[in-house]
Symmetry: C2
Subunit: 710 residues, 2 copies
């Protein structure tokens, strides 16, 4: 059979919609799968009891019968499925009952007959699903079936289209995956057939993407040979969504103006200390920013010695960037004035937009429209804005006394939370930042635009992203993919709001998991984005990626003059994809010969409280030479007296030599903080806790894997 084309699906969708249906009938979907080579149970739809019994005889008993309908979503619960029908008598009886009940419950409509099918022998049950996600468009779900789906929420997601590699990763990520491998003496399942089935469902999903809301293929039963799609439910979308697979393209026009503007107007500049419009001018005028500054305030001649202007019109030039702190309702008017004068960048610090609902939402929609129409790019509203480590521009309403501006570095960071924006800048006090943007309610410039802009920034080597919820998820991921593949720059994300649940639980199993973190986790991973589990782990990962090379593999070696934290770290190794490597024998011998018998020279290496800086250097040199080691993880108890301060210079040298990543950890008070700082200054990240330490090492391993194309 030829594969059905779009015209066909469109035709069926229209026909079913016209007659009030809400789903593609099961038999139809199974036929589509069958013609693409997927195994479905042998069977046919019967309109009469005679026909049913003829089909039954052809298949052989026992059989399964199900109502075929375009509007029944919960067949099992409605008594519209009967398993194990043993012979023709029972089949005729059940057929009659089923037709009666179906006609009754569906008010004499939608009943298309009864599907009579072979009963598929037991095997490992999986669920495969499709969902039209509001942020990512059509996504594929794979999970363990039966009770495990809901008991464990054991599901994985990827965006369509998917490659076989994606499907394999999905299966590998399931808690119940051991069932497929031949659990407790059972024969292993035909995973190849399962993969084929999933890939075919995914391709069908892409073809019918404009027409479905949600779909369950549940169960898909996997046997030692072959896999069978036993049930199929595809719920129609309310309207046809023709371009559901195409993503918005990142638009980076004028974005440079937010980082290195030759001139900046501050609309709502204030002379009163403590006011937002005052702190922003202070930061621009009194520190390192070199651009021209135009405070706008009709009531003042000057602010901080800088000439003040009554309005945009009065300025001697069109400023490259305008920063706005006046009431948001002024936004649309100001955008028109800016456009008329030739300014294309507006940074809106003011809050009070859609988070308040009502008419305020309308203002934001108007600004979105104007941004497109007038080509005025808008960052914000409701944000702290932008920072550039080289131009020293920032739009922050935080005094320099309270918020450190870090030096120029190669980390960049975009964030929905201004608070974590501040957190990132201060954490980067030593290692430095290229660019940071807090983009708030994103009426125009969004995550996708910013990732694209930062990937192209020559000073940026890694982009971090704090996400509560993405706007255009496909656009974000497309930009992230380009950053990774074309620019060779890793993207690291921390997504919060993980307990969110979909309101679609009633429609399908798959719908119940739509909008959960499982979707984000799956699609981020698919795009090669490195995910983390806290803000501090996000920072640690970015810092490690900025300062250290990628790891060639997962094999880690630890050393310390205090063993406790290494024991802690080991607990986190499996979940973080780190492997405690057995060192090469020459490495062990070299250390055994060199050190006192007190030192424990297997991995993790315990150089004890007696260790000097020279001892650390010896171990690290040994590990650098050991072909089995991919990443070196020293913990430093700087409080221990024998560990002299030559450690800094020694680590600087080792770090220059190293083609392997080195990631350190240390915990303590002011002296430890001073030493950590000194090591960061020579390019060795030293994290303050074990969670960050292992997250940093894990990110370097992930990045190595992603760069190699996994």
């Amino acid at each position: 059979m030829a594969k059905k084309n779009t015209q066909h699906f469109k035709g069926e969708y229209d026909r079913i919609k016209a007659q009030g249906g809400i789903a593609f009938p099961e038999a139809m979907v199974k036929a589509w799968l069958a013609e693409r080579g997927v195994r479905v149970p042998v069977g046919r739809v019967a309109r009469t009891a005679d026909e049913a019994s003829k089909i039954g005889a052809g298949i052989g008993y026992p059989v399964v019968i199900k109502v075929s309908s375009d509007r029944m979503l919960h067949k099992t619960e409605s008594g519209a499925v009967k398993l194990g029908v043993k012979g023709p008598g029972e089949l005729r009886r059940e057929f009659g009952d089923m037709r009666a009940r179906a006609n009754d419950s569906m008010r004499h409509r939608g009943f298309e007959g009864v599907l009579v099918e072979e009963q598929v022998p037991p095997g490992v049950e999986m669920i495969v699903g499709l969902q039209n996600d509001p942020h990512f468009g059509p996504v594929l779900m794979v999970g363990m079936g039966g009770i495990l789906t809901d008991l464990l929420e054991d599901v994985a997601f990827r965006m369509l289209p998917v490659a076989r590699r994606d499907v394999r990763e999905m299966l590998r990520g399931l808690k119940g995956r051991a069932l497929l491998g031949g659990f407790r003496g059972a024969e292993p399942c035909d995973v190849q057939a399962l993969e084929d089935t999933i890939l075919t469902i995914a391709r069908l999903g892409a073809d019918i993407a404009p027409y479905f809301e949600s779909a369950d293929f549940n169960p898909v039963i996997v046997h030692p040979k072959g896999a069978v799609v036993v049930d199929a439910k595809v719920v129609l979308s309310d309207v046809v969504r023709p371009r559901v697979l195409s993503a918005g393209k990142p638009h980076t026009g004028h974005l440079e103006s937010f980082f290195n503007p030759a001139s900046v107007a501050v609309i709502g500049a204030s002379a009163s200390p403590g006011k937002i419009g005052n702190v922003i001018v202070d930061s621009l005028v009194n520190y390192e920013f070199k651009g021209r500054i135009y405070p706008i305030n009709p009531n003042r001649e000057t602010i901080m010695g800088v000439k003040c202007y009554p309005s945009l019109d009065a300025l001697p030039e069109a400023p490259e960037l305008a920063v706005m702190v006046v009431d948001l309702s002024e936004g649309p008017r100001l955008m028109k004035e800016l456009a008329a004068n030739g300014t294309h960048a507006l940074l809106v610090v003011s809050g009070g937009g859609k988070e308040l609902g009502g008419s305020r939402e309308h203002i934001e929609r108007e600004m979105t429209r104007l941004a497109r129409e007038l080509d005025v790019r808008v960052v914000g509203p409701n944000c702290i804005g932008a920072f550039d480590g080289r131009s020293r521009f920032d739009s922050f309403f935080h005094s320099h006394e309270r918020l450190l501006r870090p030096p120029a570095g190669s980390m960049s960071f975009i964030t929905q939370s201004g608070t974590w924006g501040c957190g990132f800048l201060e954490a980067a006090e030593v290692s430095g930042v290229s660019r940071m943007v807090s983009y708030g309610n994103r009426v125009d410039v969004d995550e996708g635009d910013l990732i694209a802009c930062l990937a192209a920034d020559e000073n940026t080597s890694v982009v971090g992203s704090y996400i509560e919820g993405l706007g255009d998820g496909r656009k974000f991921l497309a930009a992230a993919r380009r950053s990774i593949k074309e620019h060779g720059k890793p993207v690291v994300a921390f997504k919060t709001g993980r307990n969110a649940r979909s309101a679609n639980a009633a429609v399908s199993h798959t719908g119940a998991y739509g909008g959960t973190y499982a979707v984000y986790e799956g699609v981020l991973r698919q795009a090669g984005v490195i995910t983390t589990d806290s803000f501090h782990e996000l920072f640690a990962a970015c810092q490690a990626l900025a300062l250290q090379p990628a790891a060639a593999g997962p094999r880690a070696a630890m050393l310390s003059n205090g063993a406790g934290p290494m024991v802690n770290a080991l607990d986190l190794f499996p979940a973080r994809g780190l492997e405690l490597v057995r060192l090469a024998r020459p490495s062990v011998r070299a250390m055994r010969d060199h050190f006192s018998f007190f030192y424990l020279v297997e991995n993790p290496v315990d150089v004890t409280g007696s260790a000097s800086a020279e001892d650390y250097e010896f171990v690290i040199r040994t590990l650098l030479d050991d072909p089995k080691v991919d990443v070196i993880m020293p913990f430093f108890v700087f409080q221990d007296t024998p560990l002299d301060e030559s450690i800094v210079e020694r680590m600087a040298t080792l770090n220059r030599l190293a083609d392997k990543p080195i990631v350190g950890c240390a915990a303590g008070g002011p002296y430890t903080a001073r030493m950590v700082r000194a090591l960061e200054e020579v390019g060795v990240p030293v994290l303050p806790d074990v969670a960050q330490w292992t997250a940093a090492a894990s990110a370097l391993i992930e990045w190595g894997r992603i760069k190699k194309g996994r």
Copy 2:
């Protein structure tokens, strides 16, 4: 039937051992359970085919048959179990086969016949197990049965004896617990009957504790009415362990000498800066410690101006405490000298003990023996020793420049890791420490002794404990229980080394989980110890418990001038037992009337970047008055200019007023650190990350629950 007594179990054990058996036969164990009122399948052991078929007729078909033996551990795998035997013919055939195979495989011994039993209808399968744990003695395991046991490692442990409350907590903690409640339309299970069954198995376990190594009751099938123990396997211990249930008693004699000694001898005092024996003398002589100090070094007249002595014998008095830094092999000799002179406390900093194996292990064993014999208490070896916040005594080989000694406070801490000991002291720079002990290889003084000592210390209000592995686990838990119940002082633990797996996997399912973190987690929880998941969370929990009252319940309210971290925290709420409460309507109204329309006044309360210290005060006062709120969690973006520094005084006042706990969080650079310190000084803990913040709140809730007797 009368319950069997110890004499009976002992008799059976001896009999089976004598004939080379390794397990109590299944039918025997089931009989013990039946006489205690537990349901087991109807059935009997048949010695002949005739007998079998008579039993089968009595029960009614289908039946299950199993080899009855005292030495077969893996019946299913050995073909020694046959389900669904449909009639007498099949039964005779199977009986013959089974006897043949059994005789064969057991070399004509151990075969006691074939157990013929009713076939129990399907239901929810559970596993119940018993295990003789090396640290905790006999423990009970409960888990989901069938594939879930191993697929999810879904098991919970408690020490014997257990109360019904313990069993309920075990069941509540299982990932698969939903299956018992009537999953996906199934009828709910008879949880009461399951609890009864588990409790009876636990009581039997206590009675036969001297005789078993490990036991599986797997499956226990639970129905809507009743529960049946379908299979029972009890593997015998190698030798009878008569006192397996009794714990060593904490021994606190002379322990005060480690904290507030009137005089201290330093054996191995050194005049060379940087040497361990030098740093220790420096810390005692040149800082705040007021006791008499006797450096011992035969080659010096004085060290740091203090008179030096050639040996212990030469001292003008018997020192209350001796600190030893010379080679460990000197230990036994020194202990005898100390005892002869009347000194009862020796703190051994020196390492090089059992961690090196061989003859070094022997030294430690000798010191253990001498400690008992001579009544010389020993802390260490291989440790950094002790600290007392009031006497200012410490034995640390870390200079004051590198390691801060915190002020006197009410937290105490015991630790197997000196590194985390340093970490704790420095983290407590503001909130202070009563006592800290790093006890290393614990040849004498162990965790149980120390917990008992600290619980009795009037200045201690909370005891933290970093554990890699406990020595006498029952003693530790007994001491912890007393601390909690009699002294009203919480005990908080962080256990690492969580990936350890038992070598007993071959013997039983339960054995496979022995020694895992699941055992520690269960028994710590059972004793009322608060558990945490990282060192920093351990510290946060201790600090919160030291500074704040317990929470009356789990209902938390958050407020912040930056929403991001509150979104993060919400993700952690469910796992940490925190509930986001819906505020009382008058609270919301009061805030709505008071604040600008920009502020979001539902929980979590978002006072926006415009918030002043007064705004924080208003919200916190409102939450203090709200009867629905149990714990108040402010996040402070101190970088935001409107948040003026009067926040410190306001929080001090609120904190004095508060009968509810307040736990804060803030992240940032030096200014933030200064503000955090100021708030800690007035008694408000402010943690640096969301994980610690929620862990602190969680500990206060846990402590409230534990104090109320759960």
